[in-house]
Amino acid sequence: MIAQAATNATPSLHLLLVLLSAALTENILLTRFLGMCPFLSVSKEFRSAFGMGLAVLFVVTCTCLLNYALYTGVLVPLSHYGVPAESLKLILFIVVIAAFVQLMEMVIERISIRLYFALGIFLPLITVNCAILGASLFMVTNVTGKGYGAARVLLYGFGTGLGWFIAIMLMAGIRRRLRTAKVPPGLEGPGITLIVTGIMAMAFVIFQGMIKI
């Protein structure tokens, strides 16, 4: 039913569905496996999970927009002159992401030293977060050339970050409970976290096919 609604949706409903599909039915972490490294290590503490989740949310939204602008504004026109846009987009995206995070680090350092120290270790970790690069790469195939342009990309990026945020918050909550559980010695740490992630991924399978844009 929702799938049917998607096809006849008004633009605003359509955009809402883009958001929901990016966050839930195609969750960048639980359905597409991306962003696992920081997910596994940072979800140990509730507070750091929250900070990391918000940071990722912010970065992925901005970089998706930036990359979309650069891809359609620079690479695609250039491709008419023989420049291989498909091969070079990887370099473009990753450089933009690294530069953006570097910039963010400098800005935060200027604005608030406290925030800088609180986020300290995360910022370099964000650059290597597969989810952020993955979001930009999937954005090119799923979102471009379909109309709605920047609004759709914005919501797609935000939805992706939101999905990652939801996943890491869920995991942080579960791991907190696990602290008082009796885990077999070999499974402590990464082992049990992976099993929990697998169960969460199974739960998210429910959402598959619910929304099809």
């Binding site: 990887l90 990753i94 290597v128 597969c130 993955g134 010695p185 992976l194 991924a201 199974m202």
Partner: protein, 251 residues
């Protein structure tokens, strides 16, 4: 700011250390992101591992060659750029040689760029060591990582499809009708034992889907960790025993 020093670790030591002792997957389970998605088929995983080993080795070499010329501030970005270049080479080679498989794994090959292991090794080792050692270190890291991925892939494909190397010319049926298991049972004189017991192989579809990868990887980590813990305990007991003997000696 002083230049980063060059330490001298012999290449063979570097490779062995990376592969076994410090195998990142066993200890830290980092960098599994991009690769897990392709592990439901052994052939796809093999290609992915080859691409990864090529990338870690060549990126290690390149970063090491440039280590004295690289400015501090843009160090990370340049390392990422170097990795991206080698990944693109892999992507192009796959498009040329393995056209069919390429579209299935293309997205995930691209994500080798953000692989924590690759970048971690470059930062920790290649930027501080000589080219040959850095190359060996990269090769060893890639190899260790590939070992884990192949383990996951073999388990996932056998349980999920019942075959090995499906969709290739070397496809082998392992479980299910006409498979290796049946052949083995026949050789032992137990042909038809499964049927008469009412057992029939059904593919575990969960193994083909994302959750399956997490479960198999958890089991792999469990096995490795338990083994490591047992070794540690044994060593500790040995140390304790030696300490006690030393105490009793003078008496």
């Amino acid at each position: 700011m002083p230049d980063l020093p060059t330490t001298s670790v012999p290449p063979r030591r570097a490779l062995l250390d990376q592969f076994w002792k410090e195998n990142p997957i066993f200890r830290q389970v980092l960098g599994i992101c991009s690769a897990l998605a392709v592990t439901n088929l052994v052939f796809n995983t093999t290609l992915m591992c080859l691409g990864l080993i090529w990338t870690t080795t060549m990126a290690g070499l390149t970063v090491s060659l440039l280590r004295n010329a690289m400015p501090r501030r843009i160090r990370i970005m340049v390392q990422i750029l170097i990795v991206a270049v080698y990944v693109i080479v892999v992507d192009i080679v796959f498009k040329v040689r393995f056209y069919q498989t390429h579209s299935q794994i293309a997205a995930y090959v691209g994500l080798i760029v953000t692989n924590c292991i690759v970048l971690g090794r470059l930062e920790a080792f290649a930027s501080k060591n000589r080219p040959l050692a850095a190359m060996a270190d990269g090769f060893g890291a890639g190899l260790g990582y590939s070992a884990i991925l192949m383990f996951v892939a073999v388990v996932r494909e056998i349980l999920g499809f019942g075959t090995l190397l499906k969709y290739t010319a070397w496809e082998v049926q392992v479980v299910g009708p006409g498979g290796l298991v049946d052949g083995a049972l026949g050789a032992l004189g137990l042909a038809g034992a499964m049927d008469s017991a009412g057992l029939q192989w059904r593919n575990w579809t969960i193994m083909v889907m994302p959750p399956g990868a997490f479960f198999v990887l958890a089991v792999a980590v469990w096995l490795a960790r338990s083994h490591a813990l047992r070794r540690e305990n044994a060593r500790r007991e040995q140390d304790d025993r030696q300490a006690e003997q030393a105490k009793e000696e003078p008496a």
